[in-house]
Amino acid sequence: MGLTMRHALLALLSKEPAHGYELKHAIEAELGELWPPVNVGQIYKTLGRLKADGLVRSADVAQASRPDKRVFELTAAGRDELNAWVDQPAPAVRVKDEFFTKLVLVARAKVVDPLVLIDRQRRAHLRELRSVTDLAATVTGMAARLAVEGAVLHLQADLKWLERCEQAFTNRGDTA
């Protein structure tokens, strides 16, 4: 399971109760350099589901000259859910399934030369690597830097693997 919005909100609320806009700003502060602006509507929708599941509760707080603000906090069940998620290691990324499937099936069916497929995929990875390195020059936060570094390492590994694919399909000569 990836980092879903559900778990992101539970994690943020475990620190202190907050309302929707505060959660939006907190997510942007941590991940904003890597992520387009978060839709506050989506945050409220997710909070609604969490509430229905009994993982958060809300209270309306009166404000002097503005409408009441709805503050959310974690319930005991919410904390259990968060802990269970935290305790579970994330699965490792394996191969790019979609490309691999294409490569193997297309090679079998002789729809296209697998080397053409590999070249195209390499170009896409190389462009992606360039975009990520360009991005690396602009990010400043530690979390963003680590994420970019992770993306670079993944792309490097994918490129190396494409090289292996190329060797394997080249040596095979007839690619059927």
Binding site: G2, T4, L34, D119, R130, A147, V148, A151, Q156
Partner: protein
């Protein structure tokens, strides 16, 4: 404007009874101010290609044109003159002179090209500053880190304001941090209009260029244009948050 044009370049070596086609029919054009990288595994012929382009080795057949001048038939002295004035070289192993200070390493090519001591000193000072090694000017290269040495080597290559900078695995001996520094410098030079041909096996280095050639077994097997696209803020990090 085309700065460099190589046509049907071949470089074959004979080892015992077998002919090794290190460069086996490569066409390459570099525009003025363009940054081209050549990537491939070790032994693919990319370094041999670079050596041919800089006259450190001679092609078995093929043509090399620098601007409108055909240069593949030049004698050693002709190539030496080109390398002094128009082509700068950076190597993985820096190749600095250990008995000279950083400043003197920089000044040497200018002096050899006939610049006055004053001109040489001024240009060296400019580059020392630009490359962030001003504080190390009077030290011998042996006292520098790998990254600093490579910066000196880049400075030396740029002393005579070459039209073309050739770089052979310039980050091959550097750690990740020094690699980033050298990449930043190359990026800045290119932004300032410097034409660069860089050879590397490292995709992170290669993708700094405008155009990337993939070489296998002495031939260009693929070409990728890079940059110029708009960078989306997520960039492959989209699965960080599943919405």
């Amino acid at each position: 404007m085309t700065l460099l044009r190589a046509v049907a370049l071949h470089r074959h070596f004979t080892v015992g009874d077998t002919v090794v086609r290190a460069v086996d029919g490569i066409d390459l054009t570099v525009e003025a101010g363009e940054f081209v990288s050549v990537m491939g595994p070790s032994g693919c012929g990319k370094s041999t290609l670079l050596h041919l382009l800089g006259g450190l080795d001679r092609p078995t057949s093929g043509e090399i044109h620098l601007d409108d001048e055909r240069v593949d038939g030049l004698k050693e002295a002709g190539w030496a003159r080109l390398r002094r004035r128009r082509i700068g070289f950076v190597f993985q192993a820096y190749n600095l002179i250990d008995d000279l200070s950083v400043r003197d390493n920089l000044e040497l090519p200018a002096v050899l090209a006939g610049a006055s001591a004053q001109q040489s000193r001024a240009r060296a000072a400019e580059l020392l500053d630009q490359l962030g090694i001003g504080a190390r000017a009077d030290v011998a290269p042996a006292h520098l880190s790998g990254g600093e040495r490579q910066r000196v080597a880049i400075g030396r290559a740029l002393m005579n304001r070459p039209d073309l900078l050739l770089a052979d695995e310039p980050t091959g001996a550097l750690d990740s941090r020094a690699t980033s520094e050298v990449l930043q410098i190359l990026g800045r030079l290119h932004a300032g209009g410097q034409a660069i041909v860089l050879v590397t096996h490292d995709p992170r280095v290669a993708t700094l260029a405008d155009r990337l050639l993939t070489v296998r077994d002495g031939q260009v097997v693929d070409e990728t244009r890079l940059g110029g696209g708009t960078a989306s803020p997520v960039l492959g990090l989209g699965d960080l948050l599943e919405r």
